[in-house]
Amino acid sequence: MNIYVAGVATTKFGELWDVSPRMLAREAVTGALSDAGLSVGDVDALFVGNMLSGLLGRQEHLGAFFAEELGMKTPAFKVEGACASGGLALHNAINSILAGQYATVLVLGVEKMTDHKPEDVATALMGAGSDEERAAGATFPGLYALLARVHMEEYGTTEEEMASVAVKNHEHAHLNPNAQFQNLLTVEHVMRSSKITDPLKLLDCSPISDGASAIIVTGDKRPFGQTQGRQETGKNAIRIVASAVATDTLGLAQRKSLTELRATREAADRAYAQAGLGPDDIDVSEVHDCFTIAEIFALEDLGFFRKGSAAAQITRGSVSLGQSKRLVVNPSGGLKGCGHPVGATGVKQVVELTEQLRGTAGKRQVPRARVALAHNVGGSGATAVVHILKR
């Protein structure tokens, strides 16, 4: 599969109360077009990754909504898959190119959450849950707390080890000017933060965020980025070499195992097969750490570490910038540190990895990164999307 990343951009993530979804989209898309050296007329289609525009923004015609804002008359689609909406939008964009339908496609991930009351946002997010879980009054922190509890009992994972995920991701976010959080944490900070759903505490949870990210993907081998002085032709271009999606049950109760997210494992297996690569080949990865326990699950389900061992490895610094000799995880700060505007997250992950592979990630640059993996999850693991990029 030869899909090229022509241009990328992201807005700052955070509590962006003075900007609208339109402004977020325009900033991200303008940046990506500029990065690619393209104009809006060069784009054949728009895929928008978004989860909550209907429930929170009362806007259910999002493809046309953003096409209008961006001055596009091309086909435009909204793709939804809870917090995996961004990754799914990219997957569909890639498929449209592989099908020969379009040559160059714009993928926009966008979410505006902080304009709404926290309880309304929490209720809207549960739109991604199963009927039984919603009827029982469960929330996603509650569901991930259940997963955490099982993992703790099965493998002896500790709350301090989970806290170390947040500590690492804030260290990385501290180096990312677009991250929502710029502050450093200690394990003690996390342990002393307010309890949300035992054993998860406030600082184990990713925040409610606003933000947008955009990627232009193409099957065309024309040179891109010449206006930026880059010559991303041939072997120097960033390629997406795998794009895989897997689906599991919406609810936790129907699953055979609660110590893995099967969808992550299956999407990863397919992606590795597509790319002809394995977990040992990955230099840098953005994984879906909506809660600290989710990063531990991800590193095991993606095959980076054997089951039950990731928490200790993270605590040891094995995937931290400046310490890791093999793999760095969530250099952007992840969902925990960089923020989690849900529809934008899956797109932002690929923006970050593109910058890492280009070598333009600044202070958070992973040295000698050549192969990268993005892992985006919807709900409590009902949808998983894995992309592998290569320079």
């Binding site: 509590e15 109360w17 009351k117 307010s194």
Partner: protein, 347 residues
Amino acid sequence: MVGIVSYGTYIPNYRIRVADIARAWKKDPTEVTRSLGVEEKAAPAVDEDAVTIALEAALRCLQVSKGKPSDIDALFVGSESHPYAVNPTSTIVGELLGVGNDYLAVDLEFACKAATAGMQAIAGLLESRAISYGLTIGADTAQSKPHDVLEYTSAAAGAAYLMGRDALVARLVAYTSFSSDTPDFWRRDGIRYPSHAGRFTGEPAYFAHTAGAARRLFEKAGCQPDDIDYCVFHMPNGKFPREIARRLGFSGEKLAPSLTVTSLGNPYSASMLVGLAAVLDIAKPNARIFAVSYGSGAGSDAFLFETTAALPKVQNAQRKTKNSVQQQMEKKTYIDYVQYLKQTHKI
């Protein structure tokens, strides 16, 4: 020069510990009190409302001054909990005080800054010599929905300020106001409890407006924090006033005397005015007091006062009648959560 002739406050006798509310909802009491910076709050008796509280504060204000009720030319009451949507609080209070009929009665509504808006309006009427004395009162039995985070802080209290041109205990040196359409906290007509937009009530709301009015006042009065002896801010919780004081460059010592929120909670329209009274209770003559209110929706009124040699006499009278803010805060009866629900007509 116009300013404060006299002041009076009323804090209901009842207190509920924030920890007891937290326990009722299975929250960690230590965590809640620490994060809000509030230990307990004042609750109204079952027969108290904004009218009775406003009246009590006004009676105490007049008690410590030489002023007669009939001297009052304007009576403004600011509240979020006026008992009637139509039927003014101000006329009931005026009638019970014995003001007579030759006065301007006004009910004000602007979230927690309604009464300080009244203070500015009365200052204008005094400066234009349209009136000789005006009374502005902030009084609330602050509403909050059970289990909402507001429940930990929403409190009951009142503060009344008699303003005039002579025999001032504090001169009003300068004042400013800062307003915008910022929907951080609201309650529609007929709806029992207010709604709020969570963290949006912080930076773009409380902090932006309080700082906006404060910075304009620094410019207008040509002063800076070093020139000020005491600062007072609206106190929705224990954290916000400390943070805005820090950002504006005030030391903790200049803020501390006004921090009634720790043991009183947030009596909405009365919050900043009770804090100001706590400072007036202890300030020496020629002290400069920098006070900024905040009302959701949103706006802030900022005031620079300078106390006079007449203040100690009023301070003594407050103490003698056991009506200083400190004395009222110490006189209390604790109630449990169920009793609190009864007294606030929730069950």
